[in-house]
């Protein structure tokens, strides 16, 4: 080989990379996507602070701290690379902080975020391996462990007198005798109502959602299927009995529907990977929400619906495997 080299002109060779094709790569990375999600959630956080007071900022901070510290501790303990900077634990903590009632106990929210990361994420292997949405695992734990604290709602700070501390859903569902009480739709839109810290303002949520969908971080199929599902299933019952059941459009703006649809059902890890699967997943969530809200013992079912469908995701992925190009169905 040395002879061939002499016949060839020398080329100045810099350090060359020899990785396999493709040699181009989109500009996305896990880290970048996660931090943009964090940004997209900020409007909801701001609305929560506006409506319920500065204390909510502390709640959210404690929640994030719980999540991040837990992840750090577990990674440290397992001698793995510390992955805090990828932002996923921050999202989990942030989201959990926003789906607890306003003025929630700091100790409990910390416990919830520890559970989110430890039991919701790390026992399954950490980022990318969890079956269930970690933030919702934390919330479900809190709901089951401290049901009273989790259903004690504070009024928004400058609520008109007509609005009681009860959330629109329970105001409608658990009436003291009289007529079902429906909240005005524009209150639902701006968020001047009772509810979890970050879920009340549809405006703020949609603002953040717009960023996620424009940048194609969140897949539009899941929320779209959820909305369609709600319009269909919720619509059927509303038409059957408009006196008792709210319109599906109001239902979309009530409770955690929008927040769940945009920030939580879209979680990459715990939602299906196939397009068809995403439609099934979204429709399933909507159906379960309608069942629980209209017929169940609980006022709200977004969390349960998403968690249940998370459980179905492996099966959905399996049975919605796309037909390979050119293969006969």
């Amino acid at each position: 080989m040395s002879e061939t080299v002499t016949t060839t002109p020398e080329v100045k060779k810099p350090e060359l990379k020899l990785t396999s094709s493709p040699h181009l790569h989109s500009t996305w990375s896990t880290q970048k996507a996660m931090w943009i999600v964090v940004i997209s959630i900020l409007p909801a956080l701001i609305s929560g602070v506006l409506f319920f007071g500065l204390y909510q900022l502390i709640v959210v901070f404690v929640s994030i701290a719980g999540a991040v510290l837990t992840e750090y501790a577990i990674k440290y303990f397992r001698n793995q690379r510390i992955t805090i900077t990828d932002g996923s634990a921050v999202i989990t903590g942030l989201l959990l902080g926003l789906i607890v009632p306003p003025n929630f106990s700091l100790v409990l929210v910390f416990l919830g975020s520890v559970v989110s990361i430890a039991i919701g994420k790390e026992v399954f292997g950490g980022l990318g391996y969890n079956i269930f949405n970690p933030a919702l695992v934390g919330r479900a734990f809190l709901q089951a462990a401290f049901p009273v604290a989790m259903t004690t709602w504070s009024k928004p700070e400058f609520a008109p007198d007509a609005i009681t501390s009860a959330t629109p859903l329970s105001a409608w569902k658990f009436v003291d005798g009289g007529e079902p009480f429906f909240t005005a739709t524009e209150n639902l839109f701006y968020g001047n109502i009772g509810g979890s810290i970050g879920e009340t303002s549809a405006l703020a949520i949609l603002l953040g959602g717009a960023l996620l969908f424009v940048l194609k971080i969140a897949n539009w199929r899941v929320p779209a299927a959820m909305v369609v599902g709600m319009l269909v299933f919720g619509g059927i019952f509303h038409l059957l009995n408009p006196e008792n059941y709210p319109t599906p459009v109001d239902q979309i703006f009530m409770g955690g529907f929008l927040f769940g649809a945009i920030f939580m059902a879209t979680d990459w890890v715990s939602s299906p990977v196939t397009n068809k699967g995403m439609y099934i997943y979204g429709l399933g969530i909507a159906l379960i929400i309608v069942m629980i809200r209209l017929f169940g013992g609980l006022p709200e079912g977004v969390m349960y619906a998403i968690l249940l469908m998370n459980g179905f995701v492996p099966l959905i992925n399996r049975y919605t495997r796309p037909v390979i190009f050119g293969e006969e169905k």
Partner: protein
């Protein structure tokens, strides 16, 4: 052939021994179990009628109903067990009423499968205590998130409205049953 007979014989012997043993034990235990149940009911009946000491089961009511008396033999009211559906399943209660059924003398929850910490709070004294001396006119009502204003109102448990309301409903149903029974009884007596 031989084998089959052996199989049958062995099984038969085991079965007979087992059956005999169980019959024996069951004979011994059945009265005790019955007595336990009776004692429990009795205790519950007296518990919802503080101060009373005696009770008589009314046999012709078509449902379980007890008449309760004090030391001196004065009738202090009635007690009845009743059941209905709560949040998760059956709720069974014992309630005591004044002789004219206007007021509740006491309440005890005998059986329930509600959520611990939430619905299951209905067994706690702080909740059952709320029913003491509550008026049944026109019927008991539960209110939520505020202090009761009228004599027939009790406050529901926060976060367990469904269970609270269920208890109230079971009571109202029961009172109605007793009322009907007593009025037909009066009519009969009047007829006599």
């Amino acid at each position: 052939m031989n084998n089959v007979t052996k199989m049958l014989v062995v099984l038969l012997v085991i079965g007979v021994v087992s059956g005999g043993l169980l019959a024996y034990i069951s004979d011994w235990a059945t009265p005790i179990i019955k007595e336990n149940a009776r004692l429990e009911t009795e205790r519950a009946v007296l518990e919802v009628h503080p101060g009373s000491t005696k009770q008589i089961k009314i046999d012709n009511a078509g449902f379980e109903l007890y008449q309760v008396m004090n030391e001196k033999g004065d009738i202090t009211g009635y007690a009845m067990p009743n059941e209905g559906t709560g949040f998760q399943g059956k709720v069974k209660i014992m309630m005591g009423m004044t002789p004219n059924l206007d007021e509740i003398t006491g309440l005890k929850v005998l059986d329930q499968v509600e959520t611990p910490g939430l619905g299951a709070e209905i067994v706690k004294d702080y909740f059952t205590g709320r029913f003491k001396a509550i008026s049944t006119q026109p019927e008991i009502k539960s209110v939520k998130g505020k202090k009761p204003e009228n004599p027939n109102e009790i406050e529901a448990i926060t976060g367990a409205t469904i269970s609270s309301v269920a208890v109230v409903k079971i009571m109202n149903d029961g009172i109605k049953k007793v009322k009907d029974y007593l009025s037909t009884q009066e009519k009969k007596e009047g007829a006599k």
